[in-house]
């Protein structure tokens, strides 16, 4: 036992001596959360919008005001003719142009119908979709009120959309769980695989092998410090997203932390597996970064829904551990569900951990070959 504690102490010394390791451990997750939370926001705020009002009446003015005062848009310019539309997009500040046809107000009152065009800058498809959706919503809203007091003889079905769990469709709800999932697997797998291959590269593994330390003690000794640090990391990320974005944990905190521990453990054993497959630190870094990061981002359902992918990718994503943890963490954090709804995913993670540990211990060489 003393041996083991001595080994762990040594590992902590390595971590605390190396500022880069510490930075990767704690700096990157915080940076990721803030970057994803602010910069990569999918919400629109103050998007540039221009107006081409060919009618200039009370109703078009009112509608224009409504759009601008919604807070999502900022008026950039007032255009005078169709030919200006292209020009204003080329300047780059304007994401959409709203065009009211001539005699908009008159037509609306006399015929109960008038048309309005929303032209969006399609070179940024995400923004374009968002902008058109937002403006359509505002117009619909206005429409309803206007029609409400105008005539009651036409029957209309008006769907009322309500978003459960995330009423404002805030993208933090998607990014925070995603980033936690991504960061944990990357850091845990990267760190453990690098620290083990480092011993191989510097030749210290030779002496460790000749020592009475058992393989399981070496592996556990390598894993334990990162387990503790990663767990602290989870708490920090959760605290950060609570204070900065006001993102609550709806479900049980205990369950969330327990599931995180499981996921950390799984990632660490994956790291050990990587280290047994690679002889040098470079190889280990390469496998962890390229082999894990891209598939984790693309195939875990973090950004792109798995349901929309071709079947092949769906099967591939089944072996990606992040896929399951994302479901778990979203369920607990956002929906507030309990273990009853996520036991399947939890079980899969447990099996993965067991398999990785089994292979690692078997593949861990008690000799140099």
């Amino acid at each position: 036992m003393n041996r083991f504690l001595g080994f762990i102490k040594k590992e902590f010394l390595h971590i605390f001596r190396d500022y880069r390791t510490l930075f990767i451990l704690f700096g990157i997750p915080a940076a990721q959360i803030l970057i994803f939370g602010y910069a990569v926001s999918m919400d629109i705020k103050n998007a540039g919008i221009a107006f081409l009002d060919l009618s200039h009446d009370e109703i078009t003015m009112e509608l224009t005001d409504k759009i601008i005062s919604s807070g999502f848009f900022k008026k950039t310019e007032t255009l005078l003719s169709y030919s200006d539309v292209d020009k204003v997009f080329k300047k780059g500040k304007t994401k959409a142009v709203i065009i009211f046809e001539s005699n908009f107000g008159k037509k609306l009152v006399s015929e109960g119908k008038a048309s309005l065009s929303i032209i969006a800058d399609g070179s940024e498809p995400n923004t374009a979709t968002l902008v058109t959706n937002y403006t359509t919503a505002i117009v619909n809203n206005f429409n309803l009120r206007f029609a409400g007091d105008a005539s009651l003889n036409s029957v209309r079905i008006q769907p009322e959309v309500k978003m459960f769990y995330n009423p404002n469709l805030k993208s933090h709800f998607m990014f925070v769980p995603g980033v936690i999932t991504l960061i944990l697997i990357l850091i845990c797998a990267l760190m453990t695989s690098v620290t083990i291959t480092r011993e191989k590269e510097f030749g210290t593994m030779e002496v460790l092998l000749v020592s009475p330390l058992r393989p399981i003690q070496i592996i556990l000794g390598k894993v334990m410090p990162y387990f503790i640090l990663s767990f602290i990391n989870v708490i920090l990320i959760l605290a950060l997203s609570w204070f900065v974005f006001g993102l609550p944990v709806k479900g049980s905190m205990v369950l969330l932390l327990a599931e995180s521990m499981l996921y950390i453990l799984m990632s660490l054993t994956l790291g050990i597996l990587i280290s047994t497959l690679s002889g040098t630190m470079q190889q280990a870094i390469f496998i962890s970064l390229i082999g894990l990061m891209l598939p984790s981002i693309l195939l875990s359902g973090f950004i792109f829904p798995i349901e929309n992918m071709p079947k092949v990718y769906d099967y591939v994503s089944m072996i990606m551990p992040p896929r399951y943890f994302i479901v778990i963490i979203k369920n607990i954090m956002i929906k507030g569900t309990g273990l009853a709804y996520i036991w399947k995913e939890t079980l899969i993670l447990i099996i993965m951990t067991a398999v990785f540990t089994g292979i690692s211990v078997r593949k861990f060489k008690i000799r140099l070959e």
């Binding site: 041996r3 001595g6 390595h14 001596r17 190396d18 510097f202 030779e206 002496v207 092998l209 009475p212």
Partner: protein, 304 residues
Amino acid sequence: MNNAIESSGLSKSFGSARAIRNISFSVDESEIFGFIGPDGAGKTTLFRIITTLLLPDEGYVKVLGMDSVTDYKKLRKEIGYMPGRFSLYQDLSVEENLSFYATVFGTTVKENYDLISDIYSHIEPFKKRLAGQLSGGMKQKLALSCALIHKPRLLVLDEPTTGVDAISRAEFWTMLGKLRKHNITILVSTPYMDEAMRCDRVALIQKGEILAVDTPRKIMLGFSRKLFSVKATEKYRLITALRQFPATITAYPFGDSVHATFTGDIVDPGLYDHLKNNGVTHVSVNETEAGIEDRFLELMNKTA
């Protein structure tokens, strides 16, 4: 006296490359046994088999009465191993390295301090310094202290003096000599022929095969001819000229002279003229005693 190491017919290949071939030797308890040979001779492979880090393809080695393959767990507790690259943690201090190895081997620095005090006292003033910032000689002393800290019965040192300055090398051998009184068997390898003299017995190893095993004295006496030390102003021209001389058998550079052997073990009077004709001046020829290196080269040529 028991044998500390006894090996028979050890062979090991890596793919198609044969690292060692049919190695048999035995080491007595508490002796300093040296493996002398150039880089790539198979010293490291042999030491890794002895320290249970590699499995032999053929043959066996019994270390301290235990089989290197089946008893590896027990054996690992008794061995102190210092690999060719000093296996130290560069980002840990001198003190931390030592106490880490002590705990890993289930002991404390205090417990076996008397064993390492001779060596460790040299670096103790720098105990707070990171191992990565030590000089080669200090690293070597620290690595030796780390290998000794659990009082092993067998100390295996793989090229401990490579990359270390001459003074540290001499100091190092003095320290090894002092360890003798603690009944520790020492197995050491080196590419430096002059260090062979500090061993009780040596094995000359070349291309994975042992050429000879004996005391350094007897190995030197094994030299079969009379050896002449030839000196002149231009050594390179001297060697070329000597090698062109018909009666020359061998001519190798040795320090600032050339060691040569001649047919009939005599210096042919025609040699001086031959050298003069080749532009070699200030020639002096003296009979000299053969060293380990001379014997090594002789043995090497016989097998080639």
